[in-house]
Symmetry: C2
Subunit: 238 residues, 2 copies
DNA sequence: GAACTCTTGTAAACACCGTTCACTGAAACC
DNA sequence: GGTTTCAGTGAACGGTGTTTACAAGAGTTC
């Protein structure tokens, strides 16, 4: 059955426990609590033993970021799958809501993955999650009006590059997109939507709204409505 | 001349040096480098001496956040004052650009102040900066169209609260606002603008755009255009 | 001017941290 | 059975925040 040797199985199991312990520490007590010694203590081993699995504390944190991104991707895809209505607008709404809910439920993870300055810790991971979701959704949007609104000429170069990235992401799912579906105006609105989505969620998680919002969800919904109509999805009654 | 005693002057001077050293360490080597011992080393004293000025490492970081917010407020107000054209749209644009430039020039400070999870470290400070800028700008916007677009009923309660906060902020500058200038539709767009502004700047500083943006400034400008027209400022040629 | 208090700093110590290194003992291999 | 591979240990180094007891100067009072 198991092709791995006994030693390999034990090693894999220990590595799993290390990640699990690190994650638990992050969730319970924040980033600064994820120390090698604390992890080792949870496993009943000593800190230097962890160097048999990771090169440094930094490498372990990077792995933690990857795990978090993978988990978030799983959650988002699950929420997308649960949205069985054929309407693409509903699917986008479901994914955005799932993203907000995940971030609010996992503030420490969100802070670690999204708001580390510069060093692209987990950046690649997350970008791919976004692309894997956005690509197919746009591709399946038969109903969208295909108008190509004018976009500032200076943005063309970057938007065309993003267009290609999106096309590649969709191609991996075996779909090719016509230019009129993925026109520059729509691409631009996808980027703008990401800005607003990220902005709202980050402000809410970090508590940086300029006034006390008693119930941010309707505000999020309202933003989604405008986002969806901007991006060219037909309005759906909810 | 100086009413303070010699001792008080020395103490104030030392405190200034502590803040300055902490700030330098943050800028040069990031948050984790802001260590009591490192600060003390810069001043040529020992770490425990710092406890005569701050209760804990945490309290010192909080003070650092306040200093950063104050500096940013200073920079934004300076940029606002430098915009001498009478057009309010230009002023808003100037402040938004200044915010983006400040964040890009001070990524470590931005990360510390904006993206610390939950504990409202420096949150109050920043909120007041935003209010002190937004209030007077809206108040001085004679040209804005006074249409009150419909806003979802669930948002009314929160928006009215924010309306009052803005009104108070403006009142401190000796101006009282008519309801038609500060109507709920406009308030809503102010919040939405803050979401987009913060979203774009944070994504740019943290490098989390979903694709490589060669020159994000035109994208920022483009977003500002839409923001300003949404919020009811007359279009201005730039 | 002497005696006293208040303040600012020090040195030593504690417990924790990341990391390195020499070593052990058991598993895996030939 | 002998050898190699490897997960794990314990001790150590230099770093951290923080507490404690103590020194020495500044300011105040008699």
């Amino acid at each position: 059955m198991t092709e791995a040797t006994r030693r390999e199985r034990l090693r894999a199991e220990t590595e799993r426990e290390i990640r699990q312990a690190a994650r638990a520490l992050l969730v319970e007590s924040g980033r600064d609590a994820v120390t090698l010694r604390a992890i080792a203590r949870k496993l009943g081993i000593t800190a230097p033993a962890l160097y048999r699995y990771y090169d440094s504390h930094d490498a372990l944190l990077r792995q933690l970021c990857d795990d978090i991104c993978a988990d978030m991707a799983l959650a988002l895809h699950a929420n997308l799958a649960a949205e069985t209505s054929g309407q693409v607008g509903c699917k986008v709404r479901a994914v955005c809501h799932a993203f907000r809910r995940w971030a609010l439920a996992h503030p420490q993870e969100f802070a670690l993955v999204f708001a580390s300055p510069r060093d692209p810790i987990g950046a690649d991971q997350f970008g791919s999650v976004f692309l894997q979701l956005a690509g197919p959704l746009i591709a399946s949007n038969e109903d969208a009006n295909h108008v190509d609104e004018p976009v500032p000429a200076v943005l063309h170069e970057d938007l065309v590059r993003f267009q290609q990235v999106l096309r590649d992401a969709v191609a991996e799912h075996g779909v090719t997109l016509a230019d009129e579906v993925l026109n520059l105006g729509k691409i631009y609105h996808v980027v703008q939507s990401w800005v607003r989505l990220y902005g709202h969620v980050a402000l809410e998680v970090f508590g940086r709204f300029p006034f006390a919002v008693s119930n941010p969800e309707p505000m999020f919904d309202s933003m989604l409505d405008q986002m969806l109509s901007d991006i060219g999805f037909v309005e759906v009654e909810r």
